[in-house]
Symmetry: C2
Subunit: 323 residues, 2 copies
């Protein structure tokens, strides 16, 4: 079975780690997993190219993530950032550990030598053992794109998504999101084929606006999802009106969408076949989408619970394939 998944950072990474464990426990393998990672969160800090979602996917799937915070490296130190602060280098609101910075240095070096982000990501994934796990991690695009936040208010101003998300903790009212560079972007090699040729396409419980929503904006991605023969199954990032984690509610409010599981599924109705929800949301309906409630909380509190959720999403995909 070839599974393709769209993914943001922490939520996507935890779901996919659970999926990998679920697949490893089945006796009908081996199964391949292609992940299309959001790069709209990417930012250049201290002259280094940082890809937060790709890094969170690498670290989580490779066993190096800081479990408590869900991103960054476990047991990291902060010598470099401390020195950068002493030199007055800015910004200081984005926390970069020493082990993490090495990833950004290697990436920036290789990009500077002319490698594409796809090629760089493949080299980074090698160090994290993703090929051995039959996981292929693709950036959604090789073009530099960055989500910017146009703030609401009388004075028009825009800031980088990371400044809004990390420094302002998504508290500043948003007028709209703008993805700088997307007008010149193309899907990275393999992205559209991975959707078209998959046996199952999954949407993890990633942020529907600034993660999944950004990937859907890459030219050709939405069309590929509409056209694929594979069932497309999503996992709700909203439980009973509240996001599982992160600031999805603030992001949904910014685009005028209610923070509810049904409203999020409503963003995907042109290609979504199945939607896995929390029991608390039982009874919601979305036209054209088969909705199933999980047999437990839709919370990834451990690798095992994430594996259970991933298995339920695949069961729903199987049911959709054999109606």
């Amino acid at each position: 079975m070839h599974i393709t998944a769209l993914a943001g950072g922490v939520g996507g990474a935890r779901f996919l780690r659970g999926l990998r464990q679920h697949l490893d426990g089945r006796d009908d393998g081996p199964h391949d997993l292609t992940i299309i990672g959001n790069t709209g969160d990417d930012i250049t800090l201290f002259g280094l190219r940082v890809c937060p979602d790709l890094d969170t996917l690498l670290y989580t799937l490779g066993g190096g993530v800081h479990e408590g915070q869900g991103w960054g490296r476990a047991e990291d130190t902060f010598s470099v950032q401390g020195e950068l602060a002493a030199y007055g280098a800015v910004p200081q609101w984005f926390r970069l550990g020493d082990l993490d910075i090495a990833t950004h240095i290697a990436r920036s070096q290789w990009l500077g030598q002319g490698a594409t982000l796809s090629q760089v990501t493949e080299r980074l994934a090698h160090r994290w053992g993703l090929p051995e796990q039959r996981i292929r991690l693709l950036p959604m695009t090789d073009s530099p794109v960055e989500t910017h936040v146009v703030l609401a208010g009388d004075e028009p101003s825009a800031i980088h998504f990371q400044e809004w998300w990390v420094r302002l903790q998504a508290s500043a009212p948003v007028d709209r999101f703008v993805v700088a560079g997307m007008d010149r972007a193309a899907a990275a090699p393999g992205v559209l084929d991975a959707i078209r040729e998959a046996d199952v396409v999954l949407l993890p419980p990633s942020n529907p606006v600034v993660s999944i929503g950004i990937i859907l904006g890459v030219p050709g991605v939405r069309e590929a999802l509409r056209g694929t023969a594979a069932p497309v199954v999503g996992v709700s990032p909203i439980i009973g009106g509240a996001p599982v984690r992160g600031h999805a509610d603030a992001c949904l409010a910014a685009i005028g969408v209610e923070s509810s599981s049904a409203a999020v599924a409503g963003l995907y109705t042109d290609f979504l076949d199945g939607w896995l929800i929390d029991p608390a949301d039982r009874g919601i309906t979305v036209p054209g989408v088969r909705i199933v409630d999980h047999d437990g909380p839709l919370l990834m509190t451990s690798v095992e619970t994430a594996a259970g959720i991933a298995g339920a999403a695949l069961d729903l995909a199987s049911a959709l394939r054999s109606p």
Copy 2:
């Protein structure tokens, strides 16, 4: 008194730290010190611009140097380089600590934003308290220049100076040194004036070929030294036929010059007024140069001995000014 000094890395930095201590102990101050640092050793590693001599000067004068090795930061750690090795990023033969890497990241970021190396160096010097010490550190040029080593042998090949110096430990026979970029280089702002307007010009016991020799190759520097009214006094880097440290003998051999105190002074006779030597070399003569032997070994085994050597060099300059 305004003192201007040309300097390479470890030897220059230790001499100048001693000079600063000597000056602080005098009652005829304050005295200003302008240092013209060699940038021929500069190299781009992992996409980061590294200026080994400027950094050694900053760290030594700022109290942050690793005393044992004479370069790099005290109590540094190596998390970043370990991770870069895990990613397969190269080269690995140049050892970069985490604290040290922060310097290179800050420098590269600011250069990337359009700052000149002079401006970057001034910002870095601020963190190390050089202005408070009345020390101004200037790179010899703002143009990127790099000393390359053309290796002797049937197969013509050239490698970066650092690869020859660090990886090969100066063991490979040299045909000649080539300074890439020097044909388009100009002295950095303030460099020529600092020589012309100084009360004393000092040459610390830096490598005469790959440190002082490279600075002398910057357009206008040698002419400024010939033309300045200030006495120019050098400290011999050779004692009894052997270099005090480093691979000066290999460098001298490469340019066909004997490893002796007299031969090194002979490289500077067009502008050199005084030459401070070790007692072991007493009796040497160089036409047009007043030679004085130090009242102790010409070895900078401590800040105090370096201060004594610096004081003796200034005494020689005074004697030259009032004949």
